[in-house]
């Protein structure tokens, strides 16, 4: 456990290592495309083609690990904040029941670690796949081909699932603190020691837990049962004929990813709603205790309404359009099948744009919360001390809260989304046109560059998400400092007043 704690702190290293792998793959992809004519049917071509199927995914895996570890750091800070505040309240005789952490809150870091280990295992299989390819063992090569990428899908399921469960844990802990803090501060001032009733189901939308699990099952199913069935079929019959699942297994993995990203969008929206609730509830408590008028919090940002729309659009795109296209193409193969792989990236780009917007709003809300907390605690301490509140101090007003947004990170995500989209338009379209016109060489060139290019786009998005969470870690640290200091002061003066 200690080792995992140490690893979690290294989220920035994981992010940069992941970016390095993705960029290396892009470089090798460009090299392969430029030297296509000279390396055809050589060992270099075998190594590069197999390397480029797995290593970009491994790079994306490390980026996801970095994001997950940053989330784990946030969870730890939130828990520390709650623990230290509870310890302070206990000094004043205010004790409360702590919420028991559910399974996903206890194990999401393990999911992340197991996820990256599975991705590393898939990389070992890739090395075996390269070796059997060089020595021309056809059956072993095909079976390893069938198993390697879907196994990577299991790793992806655990990594993205771990991220979603990490966010669910943030929702749970934040919700608990938002509900308990004003109540306990109020009790401290009013000398009321009733034990509060806290209901877990009120803290977080449980349907979203189910959705995360569903997404994980879909993504992992590319390996079990699909790849296992395909490998057994190939091993027993020794035929390259397509089996019923052969053409849709990877679409199923991506449907799972889309479900998990959809679920992540809603976890982020819930975090936004708790951050807003924190300001409004604390504001109400301060006004109730001090007798001041309630200062309403700023209006909800209009852009927050776009987030669920993007989440639904991204999921529907993946579910209907490409799932249907993949099914049709598995029965009647056509040139349209070339659109399936890169076209899935459109869904990812839409979902990630929504996630980027949600993260942007979270950072704005955290800044607004950081502005408000010292004022609230300062007023409560004044009330506890029995002094008059200084009305000459201007309350912080925030008419243009969008100005607080870290736009550089958001634009970075948009650039990533555009790169991802360009995998379809123009690359996949150009590949399709050249295939129908019989320009196979040009079509192959596009085919070889699409994978590393789209991975670079997604990699840039992941890096920006990781940096967003890194920014959030900073604000959660500041929030911890202000809340623990503030509660400690309130309790100190409350106890001193009693004496």
């Amino acid at each position: 456990m200690m080792m995992i704690d140490k690893l979690v702190k290294r989220y920035k290293e994981a992010l940069f290592f992941g970016s390095f792998l993705v960029l290396t793959s892009l470089g090798l992809g460009i090299y392969r495309t430029i030297n296509e004519a000279t390396i055809q049917s050589t060992v270099t071509e075998i190594v590069l083609s197999r390397f480029l199927e797995i290593v970009p995914l491994l790079g994306l895996g490390f980026l996801k690990l970095g994001i997950g570890f940053a989330i784990a750091t946030i969870v730890k800070r939130l828990k520390d904040t709650g623990k230290q505040a509870s310890e302070s309240f206990e000094k004043a005789g205010i004790e409360g029941e702590e919420v028991k952490q559910p399974f996903y809150a206890r194990y999401f870091v393990n999911f992340l670690v197991i996820g990256i280990l599975i991705e590393l295992l898939a990389t070992l299989l890739m090395i075996a796949w390269i070796i059997v390819g060089i020595y021309d063992y056809e059956v072993a090569s095909e079976i390893l081909h069938i198993l390697t990428v879907p196994l990577e899908g299991v790793g992806v399921a655990l990594l993205i699932g771990g991220i979603a469960f990490g966010l669910a844990t943030i929702v749970l802990n934040l919700g608990t603190q938002v509900t308990l803090l004003p109540k306990r501060l109020s009790k401290l001032v009013k000398k009321n020691k009733e034990v509060e009733d806290l209901k877990l189901q009120e803290m977080l939308p449980r349907w979203n837990i189910g959705l995360t699990v569903l997404g994980m099952i879909f993504s992992a199913s590319g390996f079990f049962p699909f790849a296992i069935i395909r490998a057994s079929y190939y091993g027993s019959i020794g035929s390259t004929e397509p089996v019923p699942f052969a053409l849709i297994w990877d679409t199923v993995i991506f449907v799972g990813i889309a479900i998990m990203l959809f679920s992540i969008s809603f976890w982020l929206l819930k975090i936004i709603s708790w951050l807003r609730a924190q300001r409004s509830e604390l504001g109400k408590t301060v006004s109730e205790l001090s007798g001041e008028k309630v200062v309403p919090i700023e209006n909800e940002l209009k852009i927050s309404k776009i987030v669920p729309r993007l989440a639904y659009s991204g999921l529907i795109w993946m579910l209907i359009f490409f799932f249907v296209l993949a099914l049709i193409n598995s029965q009647i193969p056509s040139v349209m099948g070339q659109l399936i792989k890169p076209g899935r990236a459109i869904s990812l780009a839409i979902l990630f744009t929504g996630i980027g917007l949600a993260l942007l709003i979270i950072v704005i809300n955290l800044k607004l919360t950081a502005f408000m907390l010292p004022e609230s605690f300062s007023k409560i301490v004044t009330v506890i001390k029995g002094e008059k509140i200084d009305h000459n101090v201007n309350a912080i007003t925030m008419s243009k809260s969008l100005k607080l947004a870290p736009m550089k990170l958001f634009w970075g995500m948009i650039v990533g989304a555009l790169i991802t989209l360009s995998g379809t338009l123009p690359f996949a379209i150009l590949r399709m046109i050249n295939t129908t016109q019989g320009n196979i060489q040009i079509a192959d060139t596009f085919e070889h560059i699409i994978g590393p290019w789209v991975s670079t786009g997604v990699g840039l998005i992941f890096l920006m998400i990781g940096l967003f969470f890194s920014t959030i870690v900073g604000f959660v640290n500041a929030r911890k400092a202000i809340i623990t200091e503030g509660v400690e002061s309130c309790v100190y003066y409350s106890v001193a007043e009693k004496k």
Binding site: A370, V393, A478, A481, E485, G486, Y492
Partner: protein, 136 residues
């Protein structure tokens, strides 16, 4: 890494008005803290400010010093006393740079206000039994 580092960085990059309001609230909150905690909070604040780039750091210290001069006397003195006590918790260079920049900021004040500030500072050093450094 200090828990307040990112917050101070964010404040340093915020528009003047927001920075002023937030810093006022934060200093008010610190002034209301128990003595021991106030010293720790001030040490944390000074340490975080010292990590800013030179120009931003000096601007921040100037804003802090000017704000403190608008505080009620009791609160202002409580913060100043905590600042001097925090010297023991801070790196020597950080402590000296912060104190020098504070004195530098007061040089833009009218002479009588400057004089009062220095007298208060001297009184605090005497009260704490600490030698007052030469601010040159």
């Amino acid at each position: 890494m200090n828990e307040m580092d990112d917050m101070i960085k964010m404040l340093a990059e915020s528009p003047d008005e927001q920075r002023k309001s937030m810093l006022t609230q934060r200093l008010k909150m610190i002034a209301g803290q128990p003595d021991e905690q106030r010293v720790k909070s001030i040490a944390g604040l000074v340490s975080s400010i010292s990590k800013l780039k030179d120009k931003k750091m000096k601007g921040f210290i100037k804003a802090r010093t000017n704000l403190l001069s608008t505080f009620p006397e009791e609160e202002g003195k409580a913060i100043m006393e905590a600042r001097i006590k925090a010297s023991k918790l801070l790196d020597e260079k950080v402590n000296k740079t912060d104190l020098m920049a504070t004195i530098e900021a007061t040089k833009e004040w009218p002479e009588d206000k400057q004089k009062t500030f220095m007298e208060h500072l001297k009184q605090i050093f005497v009260k704490l039994g600490m030698p007052m450094p030469e601010f040159k």
